[in-house]
């Protein structure tokens, strides 16, 4: 109703903040932090928070890629295993093949990008649904990992490969470069998604693929780009993981499929594509990390940790719905 002409009053806010859909999880996070702080004197400290960020760093980076993919209504079940392979390639080339660390890292990135690209080819050319395409890739890469590594963990990495695990201090709190890289990647992803044309195309492709196609958005090309960029992101996650653990591990990342999707959905992104926010994903990853850390710190036996985490995750999202119905 209102005025019959277009209002220009509300000029465009230049940068959009995370949508309301992450309000609930945010509140849940705050409540959890308060509870944990009262229950354990060691929870509320810069060192512990820095630790939590380190712990979630590689999963959170993976979840950036998963967010991009889910935004275009896809899904990636090969995310953890591809990361593991990337880390293996870096570690093996840098040690056994004696390649300079930079080249080894590059080769790792190329590897993960290659498998992201392959996923996209299976999806766009063979028209296999992403779930099946990436599930198949999970099986394939699992076998590659084991044969390539001989199921052996690779130790004694050159310092360049673990540089992201080094720390610097801010007010007495040691922070790893890996953590910083993760945060920077989130900022970049958020910026690209909300401020660039390809970012918006991604939303359109997930929201209404047919409309996007008719609007001249090259859906297939976009899909290829998204999965390949996601592959690059997995490579970065691999580097962070390798730096954090100091090894190349063929068995790494096995729980990261579910973990990364959890972070995405917890952050308010729709599994049906087109709606969501990558900063929400970061929040989702942090929530999981805080729950895990806090529950351990206050000494909950591990059996009950899964119980309480389950309840908290549901509560976080339910809270969101309650708060939204009120507004």
């Amino acid at each position: 109703m209102t005025q019959p002409t277009v209002s220009t009053a509300a000029g465009p806010r230049r940068l959009q903040l995370p949508s309301l859909s992450t309000l609930g999880p945010l509140i849940a996070l705050l409540i959890a932090v308060i509870v944990f702080s009262t229950q354990s004197p060691r929870f509320f400290s810069g060192t512990n928070f820095s630790l939590i960020l380190q712990q979630i760093s590689y999963t959170a980076v993976l979840a950036i890629g998963q967010t991009l993919i889910i935004l275009i209504a896809g899904i990636d079940l090969s995310i953890g295993i591809v990361m593991a392979l990337g880390g293996l390639v870096m570690a093996k080339l840098a040690t056994e093949s004696g390649l300079p660390a930079v080249l080894a890292i590059l080769a790792g990135f190329l590897t993960t990008m290659f498998f992201g690209f392959m996923n996209s080819q299976i999806i766009t050319r063979l028209r296999v649904p992403p779930f099946i395409a990436t599930l198949g890739m999970l099986g394939i890469v699992t076998a590659l990992n084991q044969t390539y590594s001989g199921s052996q963990t690779i130790n004694n990495l050159p310092p360049a490969l673990t540089a992201l695990g080094n720390t610097f201090k801010i007010g007495g709190t040691a922070i790893t470069y890996g953590t910083v890289l993760m945060l920077v990647l989130y900022l970049i992803a958020w910026f690209v998604l909300s401020e660039t044309a390809p970012g918006r195309h991604l939303y359109a492709a997930g929201n209404n693929p047919e409309a996007a196609r008719l609007s001249g958005i090259p859906i297939n090309r976009l899909t290829v780009i998204v999965y390949t960029v996601a592959g690059l992101i997995y490579g970065i996650a691999a580097l962070i993981l390798v730096a954090r653990t100091g090894v190349g591990d063929p068995n790494a990342g096995q729980t990261d499929n579910l973990d990364s999707i959890t972070a995405v959905v917890l952050g308010g992104t729709s599994l049906f594509g087109g709606r969501g926010n990558v900063l929400g994903t970061l929040l989702g990853a942090i929530i999981v990390g805080v729950f895990r850390n806090g529950l351990q710190l206050i000494g909950i036996p591990s059996v009950y940790q899964s119980l309480i985490t389950g309840i908290l995750i549901i509560a976080a999202v339910a809270l969101d719905q309650v708060s939204r119905r009120k507004s």
Partner: protein, 275 residues
Amino acid sequence: MTATLTPTAQRPAPAAPLVMEARNLVKKYGSVIAMNGADFELRPGEILAVIGDNGAGKSSLIKALSGATIPDSGEIFLDGQPVHFRSPIDARKNGIETVYQDLAVAPAMTIAENLFLGREILRPGPLGKLFRLLDKKKMHDEAVRHMQGLQFAIKSMKQPVETLSGGQRQGVAVARSAAFARHVVIMDEPTAALGVREGNMVLDLIRKVRDSGLPVILISHNMPHVFEVADRIHVHRMGKRAAILNPRVISMADTVSVMTGAINPADLSADMLAH
């Protein structure tokens, strides 16, 4: 040698080469034949109305012309050159803009975003060229400008399209095609959901586009609208062109009769037919 004069009324030479032409388009979906040898001709700077019963195959025809579907057989010419659109991107590259009947909009995205979907305004300089950074302010201002022309009661360009009324949503789709066409504008029932006032605005817009030199293909079931703006009327029936009528001569009632098959076009007087 003796020059024989052909009566112009009988076989007029086209005023100018055709902008778009289609010959014998066929499209089948299983046992349903959506196009059954459809022909089509669009002249420079004209408003060509395409009318026909529901399910006559009008949308199928223009989807073929705009690259949204690939016909099973037949040829399409743009400015006399054969073209093979594999996707809407191809058609759009050739300056063809289309309003689809089922409004190709992304419901969760804002009006401004939908208006510029697929051809966002980028920041000037390398920021735009290299990083494809959006010029959100300019997009917003342009969106306001385009939509203001159509006078919909829309509060903010940042409303998601899914919250708009049916007519408002259609307005977004129409504003979009008019704003970007460089060669041909195709509108599939652009006024179906519009009110009287808004419908007239869109008719004005169509005329403005024509006056700027671009031909317009207007699919419509609204006979008054058709007769108000059309230069020629293409009647589609059972998957093909049944006749081309001259709205300045033929009556609305006769037109409807041709459309529904009550009158055989062959029985019409020659001046009622357009060429």
